[in-house]
Protein backbone atom coordinates (compact mmCIF):
# COMPACT_ATOMS: atom_id res chain seq x y z
CA UNK A 1 0.00 0.00 0.00
CA UNK A 2 1.84 3.03 -1.32
CA UNK A 3 1.57 6.29 0.58
CA UNK A 4 -0.04 9.18 -1.31
CA UNK A 5 1.16 12.77 -0.88
CA UNK A 6 -2.06 13.46 1.05
CA UNK A 7 -1.12 10.74 3.57
CA UNK A 8 2.36 12.25 3.94
CA UNK A 9 0.68 15.57 4.68
CA UNK A 10 -1.47 13.90 7.37
CA UNK A 11 1.55 12.14 8.95
CA UNK A 12 3.58 15.36 8.91
CA UNK A 13 0.74 17.14 10.68
CA UNK A 14 0.58 14.39 13.30
CA UNK A 15 4.36 14.68 13.73
CA UNK A 16 4.15 18.50 13.89
CA UNK A 17 6.72 19.01 11.14
CA UNK A 18 6.10 21.68 8.53
CA UNK A 19 6.54 20.20 5.04
CA UNK A 20 6.38 22.27 1.86
CA UNK A 21 3.99 21.02 -0.86
CA UNK A 22 6.93 20.74 -3.24
CA UNK A 23 8.57 18.16 -0.93
CA UNK A 24 5.60 15.78 -0.66
CA UNK A 25 6.28 13.77 -3.81
CA UNK A 26 9.95 13.17 -2.95
CA UNK A 27 9.09 12.23 0.63
CA UNK A 28 6.39 9.85 -0.58
CA UNK A 29 8.89 8.12 -2.88
CA UNK A 30 11.47 7.77 -0.07
CA UNK A 31 9.01 6.50 2.50
CA UNK A 32 7.44 4.09 0.01
CA UNK A 33 10.91 2.72 -0.75
CA UNK A 34 11.49 2.04 2.95
CA UNK A 35 8.01 0.63 3.59
CA UNK A 36 8.27 -1.58 0.51
CA UNK A 37 11.48 -3.09 1.88
CA UNK A 38 9.84 -3.57 5.28
CA UNK A 39 6.99 -5.57 3.67
CA UNK A 40 9.24 -8.67 3.75
CA UNK A 41 8.25 -9.04 7.41
CA UNK A 42 4.96 -10.41 6.13
CA UNK A 43 6.87 -13.60 5.14
CA UNK A 44 7.50 -14.39 8.79
CA UNK A 45 5.11 -16.67 10.64
CA UNK A 46 4.42 -14.88 13.91
CA UNK A 47 1.43 -16.97 15.00
CA UNK A 48 1.39 -17.41 18.75
CA UNK A 49 4.49 -15.24 19.29
CA UNK A 50 4.30 -12.73 22.12
CA UNK A 51 5.56 -9.28 21.09
CA UNK A 52 8.90 -8.25 22.62
CA UNK A 53 8.74 -4.65 23.76
CA UNK A 54 12.31 -4.31 24.93
CA UNK A 55 15.67 -5.96 25.33
CA UNK A 56 15.34 -5.74 29.10
CA UNK A 57 14.99 -9.33 30.30
CA UNK A 58 14.17 -8.67 33.93
CA UNK A 59 11.35 -7.11 35.93
CA UNK A 60 11.49 -3.35 36.25
CA UNK A 61 12.53 -2.16 39.70
CA UNK A 62 10.14 -0.22 41.89
CA UNK A 63 11.16 2.68 44.10
CA UNK A 64 9.57 4.76 46.82
CA UNK A 65 7.09 7.26 45.40
CA UNK A 66 8.84 10.32 46.79
CA UNK A 67 10.33 13.50 45.37
CA UNK A 68 14.09 12.98 45.06
CA UNK A 69 15.13 15.92 42.93
CA UNK A 70 14.16 19.45 41.98
CA UNK A 71 13.87 22.87 43.54
CA UNK A 72 16.07 24.72 41.04
CA UNK A 73 13.84 26.58 38.55
CA UNK A 74 16.77 28.59 37.17
CA UNK A 75 18.58 25.40 36.10
CA UNK A 76 15.38 24.02 34.60
CA UNK A 77 14.74 27.24 32.70
CA UNK A 78 18.35 27.92 31.73
CA UNK A 79 17.84 26.61 28.18
CA UNK A 80 14.40 28.10 27.59
CA UNK A 81 14.16 30.05 24.32
CA UNK A 82 11.86 32.46 26.18
CA UNK A 83 10.85 32.65 29.83
CA UNK A 84 8.58 34.79 31.96
CA UNK A 85 9.53 34.63 35.61
CA UNK A 86 9.67 30.96 36.60
CA UNK A 87 7.70 29.87 33.52
CA UNK A 88 8.38 28.82 29.95
CA UNK A 89 6.84 31.43 27.64
CA UNK A 90 5.03 30.64 24.38
CA UNK A 91 2.94 32.70 21.93
CA UNK A 92 -0.56 33.47 23.18
CA UNK A 93 -2.74 30.33 22.94
CA UNK A 94 -6.05 31.55 24.40
CA UNK A 95 -7.53 34.86 23.30
Amino acid sequence: MALEPATIRRIATLARIHVEDAELATLAAELNGILGWIEQLNEVNVDGIEPLTGAQQMALKMREDVVTDGGYPDKVLANAPERAGDFFAVPKVVE
Partner: protein
Protein backbone atom coordinates in the same frame (compact mmCIF):
# COMPACT_ATOMS: atom_id res chain seq x y z
CA UNK B 1 56.94 6.39 21.09
CA UNK B 2 54.90 9.59 21.27
CA UNK B 3 52.37 10.02 24.07
CA UNK B 4 49.40 9.94 21.71
CA UNK B 5 50.37 6.43 20.53
CA UNK B 6 50.15 4.90 23.99
CA UNK B 7 47.40 2.53 25.00
CA UNK B 8 45.39 3.38 28.11
CA UNK B 9 47.18 0.54 29.92
CA UNK B 10 50.61 1.95 29.00
CA UNK B 11 49.57 5.53 29.81
CA UNK B 12 48.37 4.47 33.26
CA UNK B 13 51.69 2.76 33.90
CA UNK B 14 53.58 5.82 32.67
CA UNK B 15 51.56 8.17 34.86
CA UNK B 16 52.06 6.01 37.94
CA UNK B 17 55.79 5.69 37.25
CA UNK B 18 55.94 9.49 36.70
CA UNK B 19 57.51 9.06 33.26
CA UNK B 20 55.18 11.93 32.26
CA UNK B 21 52.27 13.67 33.92
CA UNK B 22 48.60 14.00 33.08
CA UNK B 23 49.01 17.60 31.90
CA UNK B 24 51.64 16.53 29.33
CA UNK B 25 49.42 13.67 28.18
CA UNK B 26 46.42 15.97 27.77
CA UNK B 27 48.49 18.67 26.07
CA UNK B 28 49.77 16.12 23.55
CA UNK B 29 46.20 15.16 22.66
CA UNK B 30 44.99 18.76 22.49
CA UNK B 31 47.89 19.52 20.13
CA UNK B 32 46.89 16.55 17.97
CA UNK B 33 43.32 17.85 17.86
CA UNK B 34 44.53 21.34 16.97
CA UNK B 35 46.61 19.88 14.14
CA UNK B 36 44.09 17.42 12.70
CA UNK B 37 40.52 18.29 13.64
CA UNK B 38 40.14 20.71 10.73
CA UNK B 39 40.77 17.71 8.42
CA UNK B 40 38.82 15.08 10.32
CA UNK B 41 36.01 17.10 11.96
CA UNK B 42 35.92 14.44 14.68
CA UNK B 43 35.05 16.93 17.42
CA UNK B 44 32.09 19.33 17.41
CA UNK B 45 33.30 21.02 20.60
CA UNK B 46 36.82 20.95 22.08
CA UNK B 47 37.03 21.73 25.81
CA UNK B 48 40.76 22.41 26.16
CA UNK B 49 40.70 24.49 29.33
CA UNK B 50 38.43 22.09 31.15
CA UNK B 51 40.60 19.19 30.01
CA UNK B 52 43.76 20.82 31.38
CA UNK B 53 42.03 21.58 34.69
CA UNK B 54 40.94 17.94 34.91
CA UNK B 55 44.48 16.83 34.04
CA UNK B 56 45.91 19.03 36.80
CA UNK B 57 43.42 17.55 39.26
CA UNK B 58 44.52 14.09 38.14
CA UNK B 59 48.18 15.02 38.66
CA UNK B 60 47.41 16.21 42.19
CA UNK B 61 45.55 12.98 42.95
CA UNK B 62 48.38 10.88 41.50
CA UNK B 63 50.90 12.84 43.57
CA UNK B 64 48.87 11.91 46.66
CA UNK B 65 49.14 8.27 45.66
CA UNK B 66 45.50 8.00 44.58
CA UNK B 67 45.39 5.82 41.48
CA UNK B 68 41.85 6.06 40.13
CA UNK B 69 41.25 3.66 37.21
CA UNK B 70 41.28 6.44 34.58
CA UNK B 71 43.25 9.17 36.35
CA UNK B 72 44.53 11.56 33.69
CA UNK B 73 43.35 9.50 30.68
CA UNK B 74 42.11 11.81 27.84
CA UNK B 75 38.84 10.72 26.27
CA UNK B 76 36.35 11.92 23.65
CA UNK B 77 32.67 11.95 24.60
CA UNK B 78 30.06 11.38 21.91
CA UNK B 79 27.93 14.52 21.67
CA UNK B 80 24.89 12.46 22.66
CA UNK B 81 26.01 12.30 26.32
CA UNK B 82 24.88 15.34 28.30
CA UNK B 83 27.84 17.07 29.90
CA UNK B 84 27.17 19.64 32.59
CA UNK B 85 27.99 23.14 31.38
CA UNK B 86 29.27 21.90 27.99
CA UNK B 87 27.07 22.25 24.92
CA UNK B 88 25.50 18.95 23.82
CA UNK B 89 24.05 18.96 20.30
CA UNK B 90 23.28 15.30 19.41
CA UNK B 91 24.63 16.32 16.00
CA UNK B 92 21.44 18.29 15.43
CA UNK B 93 20.67 21.90 14.67
CA UNK B 94 17.68 21.68 16.99
CA UNK B 95 20.01 21.31 19.99
CA UNK B 96 22.60 23.82 18.79
CA UNK B 97 22.14 26.17 21.79
CA UNK B 98 21.63 23.40 24.40
CA UNK B 99 23.91 23.43 27.46
CA UNK B 100 22.87 20.65 29.87
CA UNK B 101 22.60 21.57 33.54
CA UNK B 102 23.43 17.94 34.44
CA UNK B 103 25.94 15.19 33.65
CA UNK B 104 24.96 11.82 32.15
CA UNK B 105 25.54 8.86 34.47
CA UNK B 106 28.07 7.21 32.15
CA UNK B 107 30.17 10.35 31.73
CA UNK B 108 29.87 11.07 35.47
CA UNK B 109 31.20 7.56 36.15
CA UNK B 110 34.20 8.26 33.91
CA UNK B 111 34.85 11.57 35.67
CA UNK B 112 34.55 9.84 39.06
CA UNK B 113 37.35 7.54 37.92
CA UNK B 114 39.60 10.47 37.00
CA UNK B 115 39.12 10.72 33.21
CA UNK B 116 39.94 13.89 31.27
CA UNK B 117 37.34 14.97 28.66
CA UNK B 118 38.90 16.52 25.57
CA UNK B 119 35.57 17.46 24.00
CA UNK B 120 32.40 16.32 22.32
CA UNK B 121 32.66 13.98 19.35
CA UNK B 122 30.78 14.44 16.08
CA UNK B 123 28.02 11.99 15.19
CA UNK B 124 25.09 11.36 12.89
CA UNK B 125 22.14 13.54 13.85
CA UNK B 126 20.38 11.95 16.85
CA UNK B 127 22.54 8.86 16.17
CA UNK B 128 20.57 8.12 12.99
CA UNK B 129 23.02 7.08 10.33
CA UNK B 130 25.81 4.72 9.33
CA UNK B 131 28.26 7.22 7.81
CA UNK B 132 28.29 10.37 9.98
CA UNK B 133 26.97 12.17 6.88
CA UNK B 134 23.77 13.28 8.63
CA UNK B 135 25.51 15.47 11.24
CA UNK B 136 24.39 19.11 11.19
CA UNK B 137 28.03 19.92 11.99
CA UNK B 138 29.46 18.40 8.83
CA UNK B 139 30.80 14.97 7.90
CA UNK B 140 33.74 13.27 9.63
CA UNK B 141 36.65 12.00 7.54
CA UNK B 142 37.92 8.50 8.24
CA UNK B 143 41.64 8.70 9.17
CA UNK B 144 42.19 5.70 6.87
CA UNK B 145 42.58 6.20 3.12
CA UNK B 146 42.60 3.81 0.18
CA UNK B 147 46.16 2.89 -0.76
CA UNK B 148 45.52 3.55 -4.45
CA UNK B 149 43.45 6.68 -4.04
CA UNK B 150 44.42 9.04 -1.27
CA UNK B 151 42.17 11.80 -2.56
CA UNK B 152 38.84 10.13 -1.76
CA UNK B 153 37.58 11.00 1.70
CA UNK B 154 36.07 7.93 3.33
CA UNK B 155 33.34 7.83 5.96
CA UNK B 156 34.25 6.70 9.49
CA UNK B 157 30.94 4.84 9.77
CA UNK B 158 28.23 5.93 12.11
CA UNK B 159 26.57 7.02 14.08
CA UNK B 160 29.53 7.30 16.50
CA UNK B 161 31.83 8.38 13.65
CA UNK B 162 33.62 11.22 15.47
CA UNK B 163 34.39 8.99 18.45
CA UNK B 164 35.84 6.25 16.24
CA UNK B 165 37.85 8.66 14.07
CA UNK B 166 39.26 10.45 17.14
CA UNK B 167 40.49 7.22 18.72
CA UNK B 168 41.84 5.85 15.43
CA UNK B 169 43.74 9.06 14.58
CA UNK B 170 45.23 9.26 18.12
CA UNK B 171 43.27 12.41 19.04
CA UNK B 172 41.91 10.55 22.10
CA UNK B 173 42.91 7.36 23.96
CA UNK B 174 39.31 6.16 24.16
CA UNK B 175 35.80 7.40 23.62
CA UNK B 176 32.19 6.83 24.48
CA UNK B 177 29.68 5.81 21.85
CA UNK B 178 26.15 4.52 21.63
CA UNK B 179 24.93 1.54 19.61
CA UNK B 180 21.26 1.37 18.59
CA UNK B 181 21.61 -0.59 15.32
CA UNK B 182 25.40 -0.86 15.04
CA UNK B 183 26.59 2.66 15.83
CA UNK B 184 29.60 1.52 17.90
CA UNK B 185 30.63 -1.66 16.10
CA UNK B 186 30.35 -0.51 12.47
CA UNK B 187 32.48 2.65 12.98
CA UNK B 188 34.97 0.60 15.03
CA UNK B 189 35.28 -1.78 12.07
CA UNK B 190 35.61 1.08 9.56
CA UNK B 191 38.28 2.86 11.65
CA UNK B 192 40.35 -0.16 12.71
CA UNK B 193 39.69 0.05 16.46
CA UNK B 194 37.83 -1.93 19.11
CA UNK B 195 34.21 -1.04 19.87
CA UNK B 196 32.03 -2.72 22.47
CA UNK B 197 28.26 -2.72 22.86
CA UNK B 198 27.53 -4.22 26.28
CA UNK B 199 24.30 -5.94 27.29
CA UNK B 200 21.20 -3.73 27.35
CA UNK B 201 20.98 -2.35 30.89
CA UNK B 202 24.71 -2.67 31.64
CA UNK B 203 25.40 1.05 31.05
CA UNK B 204 22.87 3.63 32.18
CA UNK B 205 21.04 5.62 29.52
CA UNK B 206 20.33 8.47 31.97
CA UNK B 207 21.46 11.75 30.45
CA UNK B 208 22.08 10.20 27.02
CA UNK B 209 19.90 11.97 24.43
CA UNK B 210 17.29 9.32 23.60
CA UNK B 211 16.91 7.89 20.09
CA UNK B 212 15.18 4.50 20.55
CA UNK B 213 15.00 3.77 24.26
CA UNK B 214 14.63 0.00 24.04
CA UNK B 215 17.63 -0.22 21.69
CA UNK B 216 20.09 2.46 22.86
CA UNK B 217 23.28 0.95 24.34
CA UNK B 218 26.13 3.20 25.57
CA UNK B 219 29.57 1.60 25.25
CA UNK B 220 33.31 2.26 24.81
CA UNK B 221 35.81 2.62 21.96
CA UNK B 222 39.57 2.10 22.37
CA UNK B 223 42.54 0.85 20.36
CA UNK B 224 42.85 -2.43 22.29
CA UNK B 225 40.47 -4.95 23.83
CA UNK B 226 42.04 -4.44 27.26
CA UNK B 227 41.59 -0.65 27.04
CA UNK B 228 37.91 -1.21 26.19
CA UNK B 229 37.64 -3.45 29.26
CA UNK B 230 39.04 -0.67 31.47
CA UNK B 231 36.57 1.86 30.03
CA UNK B 232 33.54 -0.42 30.31
CA UNK B 233 34.46 -1.21 33.90
CA UNK B 234 34.11 2.49 34.69
CA UNK B 235 31.06 3.20 32.51
CA UNK B 236 28.94 0.24 33.65
CA UNK B 237 26.94 -0.21 36.80
CA UNK B 238 23.47 0.06 38.25
CA UNK B 239 21.83 3.48 38.12
CA UNK B 240 18.54 4.11 39.98
CA UNK B 241 17.87 6.98 37.56
CA UNK B 242 17.43 4.54 34.62
CA UNK B 243 14.62 2.08 35.31
CA UNK B 244 16.08 -0.35 32.75
CA UNK B 245 19.54 -0.29 34.34
CA UNK B 246 20.59 -3.74 35.52
CA UNK B 247 21.29 -4.21 39.22
CA UNK B 248 24.01 -6.78 38.59
CA UNK B 249 27.59 -6.50 39.89
CA UNK B 250 30.17 -5.35 37.32
CA UNK B 251 32.85 -8.05 37.02
CA UNK B 252 36.59 -7.50 36.44
CA UNK B 253 36.62 -7.13 32.65
CA UNK B 254 40.39 -6.64 32.49
CA UNK B 255 40.94 -10.00 34.16
CA UNK B 256 38.57 -11.55 31.61
CA UNK B 257 40.88 -10.41 28.80
CA UNK B 258 43.46 -12.86 30.08
CA UNK B 259 41.15 -15.88 30.06
CA UNK B 260 41.90 -18.69 27.65
CA UNK B 261 39.42 -19.67 24.96
CA UNK B 262 40.54 -23.29 25.20
CA UNK B 263 37.50 -25.52 25.30
CA UNK B 264 35.09 -22.71 24.43
CA UNK B 265 32.39 -23.46 21.89
CA UNK B 266 32.30 -20.74 19.23
CA UNK B 267 29.18 -20.55 17.07
CA UNK B 268 29.47 -19.72 13.38
CA UNK B 269 26.13 -18.26 12.27
CA UNK B 270 25.62 -19.34 8.69
CA UNK B 271 23.18 -16.51 7.91
CA UNK B 272 25.82 -13.79 8.41
CA UNK B 273 26.50 -13.52 4.68
CA UNK B 274 24.93 -11.18 2.13
CA UNK B 275 25.07 -10.84 -1.64
CA UNK B 276 27.80 -8.50 -2.76
CA UNK B 277 29.81 -8.85 0.44
CA UNK B 278 33.50 -8.10 -0.13
CA UNK B 279 35.35 -11.39 -0.68
CA UNK B 280 38.04 -10.46 1.81
CA UNK B 281 35.44 -10.36 4.57
CA UNK B 282 34.53 -14.03 4.11
CA UNK B 283 38.27 -14.88 3.98
CA UNK B 284 38.97 -12.88 7.15
CA UNK B 285 36.05 -14.54 8.92
CA UNK B 286 37.43 -18.01 8.10
CA UNK B 287 40.88 -16.84 9.23
CA UNK B 288 39.46 -15.58 12.52
CA UNK B 289 37.73 -18.90 13.12
CA UNK B 290 40.97 -20.75 12.37
CA UNK B 291 42.81 -18.58 14.90
CA UNK B 292 40.28 -19.45 17.58
CA UNK B 293 40.43 -23.16 16.69
CA UNK B 294 44.23 -23.01 16.95
CA UNK B 295 43.79 -21.44 20.39
CA UNK B 296 41.76 -24.45 21.49
CA UNK B 297 38.20 -23.37 20.80
CA UNK B 298 35.68 -25.69 19.19
CA UNK B 299 33.79 -24.32 16.18
CA UNK B 300 30.08 -25.07 15.93
CA UNK B 301 27.88 -24.33 12.92
CA UNK B 302 24.73 -22.55 14.12
CA UNK B 303 21.66 -21.05 12.48
CA UNK B 304 19.97 -17.76 13.35
CA UNK B 305 17.14 -18.11 10.84
CA UNK B 306 15.51 -14.70 11.36
CA UNK B 307 18.69 -12.66 10.79
CA UNK B 308 17.51 -11.17 7.49
CA UNK B 309 14.37 -9.83 9.15
CA UNK B 310 16.25 -7.94 11.86
CA UNK B 311 16.79 -4.74 9.87
CA UNK B 312 13.24 -4.41 8.52
CA UNK B 313 11.96 -4.96 12.09
CA UNK B 314 14.51 -2.46 13.36
CA UNK B 315 13.28 0.15 10.87
CA UNK B 316 9.83 -0.07 12.41
CA UNK B 317 10.76 -0.28 16.09
CA UNK B 318 13.54 2.36 16.08
CA UNK B 319 11.63 5.06 14.14
CA UNK B 320 8.51 4.38 16.24
CA UNK B 321 10.44 4.98 19.45
CA UNK B 322 12.27 7.93 17.88
CA UNK B 323 9.06 9.64 16.79
CA UNK B 324 7.91 9.49 20.39
CA UNK B 325 11.25 10.48 21.98
CA UNK B 326 11.83 13.37 19.60
CA UNK B 327 8.37 14.85 20.26
CA UNK B 328 10.03 16.81 23.08
CA UNK B 329 11.83 19.09 20.62
CA UNK B 330 9.14 21.69 20.15
CA UNK B 331 10.93 25.00 20.67
CA UNK B 332 9.43 25.58 24.12
CA UNK B 333 11.71 24.28 26.88
CA UNK B 334 15.14 24.08 25.25
CA UNK B 335 16.88 24.14 21.90
CA UNK B 336 16.06 25.98 18.72
CA UNK B 337 12.89 28.04 18.33
CA UNK B 338 11.56 29.34 15.02
CA UNK B 339 8.81 31.95 15.21
CA UNK B 340 5.37 30.96 13.94
CA UNK B 341 1.93 32.46 13.47
CA UNK B 342 0.66 30.62 16.52
CA UNK B 343 1.92 27.94 18.92
CA UNK B 344 1.25 25.09 16.52
CA UNK B 345 2.99 26.88 13.68
CA UNK B 346 5.91 27.52 16.05
CA UNK B 347 6.18 23.76 16.72
CA UNK B 348 5.98 22.85 13.05
CA UNK B 349 8.47 25.46 11.85
CA UNK B 350 10.90 24.78 14.70
CA UNK B 351 10.92 21.07 13.91
CA UNK B 352 11.16 21.66 10.16
CA UNK B 353 14.17 23.95 10.63
CA UNK B 354 15.82 21.92 13.39
CA UNK B 355 15.69 18.35 12.04
CA UNK B 356 17.71 17.15 9.04
CA UNK B 357 16.39 14.95 6.23
CA UNK B 358 17.17 11.54 7.78
CA UNK B 359 15.70 12.45 11.16
CA UNK B 360 12.58 13.83 9.52
CA UNK B 361 12.23 10.66 7.46
CA UNK B 362 12.43 8.46 10.54
CA UNK B 363 9.99 10.58 12.55
CA UNK B 364 7.50 10.34 9.67
CA UNK B 365 7.95 6.56 9.34
CA UNK B 366 7.59 6.16 13.11
CA UNK B 367 4.50 8.33 13.22
CA UNK B 368 2.97 6.34 10.39
CA UNK B 369 3.61 2.86 11.84
CA UNK B 370 2.16 3.94 15.18
CA UNK B 371 -0.87 5.68 13.68
CA UNK B 372 -4.40 4.34 14.05
CA UNK B 373 -5.07 1.47 11.68
CA UNK B 374 -1.42 0.59 11.01
CA UNK B 375 -0.16 -0.25 14.50
CA UNK B 376 -0.91 -3.98 14.31
CA UNK B 377 0.30 -4.43 10.74
CA UNK B 378 3.65 -2.77 11.38
CA UNK B 379 4.59 -2.14 14.99
CA UNK B 380 3.05 -5.21 16.61
CA UNK B 381 4.36 -7.49 13.87
CA UNK B 382 7.85 -6.01 14.20
CA UNK B 383 7.80 -6.65 17.95
CA UNK B 384 6.88 -10.28 17.31
CA UNK B 385 9.73 -10.62 14.83
CA UNK B 386 11.96 -9.06 17.48
CA UNK B 387 10.91 -11.86 19.84
CA UNK B 388 11.93 -14.41 17.19
CA UNK B 389 15.33 -12.75 16.78
CA UNK B 390 15.91 -13.01 20.53
CA UNK B 391 14.76 -16.64 20.39
CA UNK B 392 17.34 -17.35 17.65
CA UNK B 393 20.10 -16.08 19.95
CA UNK B 394 18.74 -17.86 23.03
CA UNK B 395 18.64 -21.18 21.19
CA UNK B 396 22.15 -20.69 19.78
CA UNK B 397 23.53 -19.83 23.22
CA UNK B 398 22.11 -23.07 24.58
CA UNK B 399 24.93 -24.82 22.73
CA UNK B 400 27.70 -22.22 22.25
CA UNK B 401 29.55 -19.69 24.44
CA UNK B 402 29.83 -16.94 21.85
CA UNK B 403 29.26 -16.27 18.15
CA UNK B 404 31.88 -14.93 15.73
CA UNK B 405 30.90 -13.20 12.47
CA UNK B 406 31.84 -10.18 10.35
CA UNK B 407 30.96 -6.77 11.81
CA UNK B 408 29.93 -5.07 8.56
CA UNK B 409 29.40 -6.21 4.96
CA UNK B 410 32.07 -3.82 3.60
CA UNK B 411 35.05 -1.68 4.51
CA UNK B 412 34.68 2.10 4.81
CA UNK B 413 33.06 3.66 1.73
CA UNK B 414 33.55 7.12 0.29
CA UNK B 415 31.68 10.19 1.49
CA UNK B 416 28.63 10.56 -0.74
CA UNK B 417 28.28 6.83 -1.52
CA UNK B 418 25.06 5.06 -0.45
CA UNK B 419 23.32 8.44 -0.14
CA UNK B 420 20.71 8.13 -2.90
CA UNK B 421 18.75 5.24 -1.43
CA UNK B 422 18.07 5.20 2.34
CA UNK B 423 17.64 1.40 2.34
CA UNK B 424 21.12 0.93 0.83
CA UNK B 425 22.58 2.89 3.75
CA UNK B 426 20.51 0.93 6.27
CA UNK B 427 21.97 -2.37 4.99
CA UNK B 428 25.34 -1.44 6.56
CA UNK B 429 23.85 -2.63 9.83
CA UNK B 430 22.78 -6.05 8.55
CA UNK B 431 25.18 -7.90 10.92
CA UNK B 432 24.96 -5.51 13.86
CA UNK B 433 21.21 -4.84 14.16
CA UNK B 434 20.21 -8.28 15.47
CA UNK B 435 22.28 -7.94 18.69
CA UNK B 436 20.63 -4.58 19.42
CA UNK B 437 17.13 -5.98 19.00
CA UNK B 438 18.03 -8.88 21.30
CA UNK B 439 20.00 -6.71 23.75
CA UNK B 440 22.93 -9.16 23.79
CA UNK B 441 26.51 -7.88 24.08
CA UNK B 442 28.73 -7.65 21.00
CA UNK B 443 32.20 -6.35 20.18
CA UNK B 444 34.11 -5.49 17.00
CA UNK B 445 37.84 -6.29 16.90
CA UNK B 446 40.11 -5.05 14.07
CA UNK B 447 41.39 -8.23 12.42
CA UNK B 448 42.81 -7.45 9.00
CA UNK B 449 43.00 -5.19 5.95
CA UNK B 450 41.24 -5.42 2.61
CA UNK B 451 42.95 -5.04 -0.78
CA UNK B 452 42.69 -1.25 -0.49
CA UNK B 453 44.50 -1.33 2.84
CA UNK B 454 41.32 -0.52 4.78
CA UNK B 455 40.61 -2.15 8.15
CA UNK B 456 38.01 -4.87 8.64
CA UNK B 457 36.54 -5.96 11.95
CA UNK B 458 35.30 -9.27 13.24
CA UNK B 459 32.37 -9.33 15.60
CA UNK B 460 31.98 -11.40 18.76
CA UNK B 461 28.42 -11.74 20.10
CA UNK B 462 27.74 -13.13 23.57
CA UNK B 463 25.15 -14.12 26.12
CA UNK B 464 23.33 -11.45 28.13
CA UNK B 465 25.60 -10.05 30.88
CA UNK B 466 28.48 -12.30 29.81
CA UNK B 467 30.74 -9.54 28.48
CA UNK B 468 33.64 -11.43 30.10
CA UNK B 469 33.52 -14.15 27.47
CA UNK B 470 33.50 -11.46 24.76
CA UNK B 471 36.62 -9.90 26.24
CA UNK B 472 38.31 -13.32 26.34
CA UNK B 473 37.42 -14.13 22.72
CA UNK B 474 38.13 -10.57 21.56
CA UNK B 475 41.55 -10.63 23.20
CA UNK B 476 42.31 -13.99 21.57
CA UNK B 477 41.40 -12.62 18.14
CA UNK B 478 43.49 -9.51 18.84
CA UNK B 479 46.54 -11.58 19.82
CA UNK B 480 46.26 -13.83 16.79
CA UNK B 481 45.59 -11.01 14.32
CA UNK B 482 48.48 -8.90 15.58
CA UNK B 483 46.76 -5.94 13.96
CA UNK B 484 49.35 -3.15 13.97
CA UNK B 485 48.41 -1.18 10.86
CA UNK B 486 47.90 2.53 11.40
CA UNK B 487 45.79 5.10 9.56
CA UNK B 488 47.39 7.59 7.19
CA UNK B 489 45.96 10.57 9.05
CA UNK B 490 47.12 10.38 12.67
CA UNK B 491 48.93 12.36 15.30
Amino acid sequence: MTLTDLTIVAARDGLRARDFNARELTEAHLAAIAALNSRLNAFITVTGERALAQADAADEALARGEFAPLAGIPLAIKDLFCTEGVRTTAGSRILEPFVPPYESTVSANLLRDGAVFLGKANMDEFAMGSSNMTSAYGPVANPWQRRQDQTALLVPGGSSGGSAAAVSARLAMGATGTDTGGSIRQPASFCGIVGMKPTYGRCSRWGVVAFASSLDHPGPFARTVRDCAILLGSMAGHDPKDSTSADIPVPDYVAACGRSVKGMRIGVPREYRVDGMQGEIETLWQQGLAWLRDAGAELVDVSLPHTKYALPAYYIVAPAEASSNLARYDGVRFGLREPGEDLRDLYERTRAAGFGAEVRRRILIGTYVLSAGYYDAYYLRAQKVRALILRDFTEAFATVDALVAPTAPSAAFAQGENMDDPVQMYLNDVFTGPADLAGVPAMSVPSGLDANGLPLGLQVIGKPFDEETLFAVGAALERAAGFDAVPQIRA
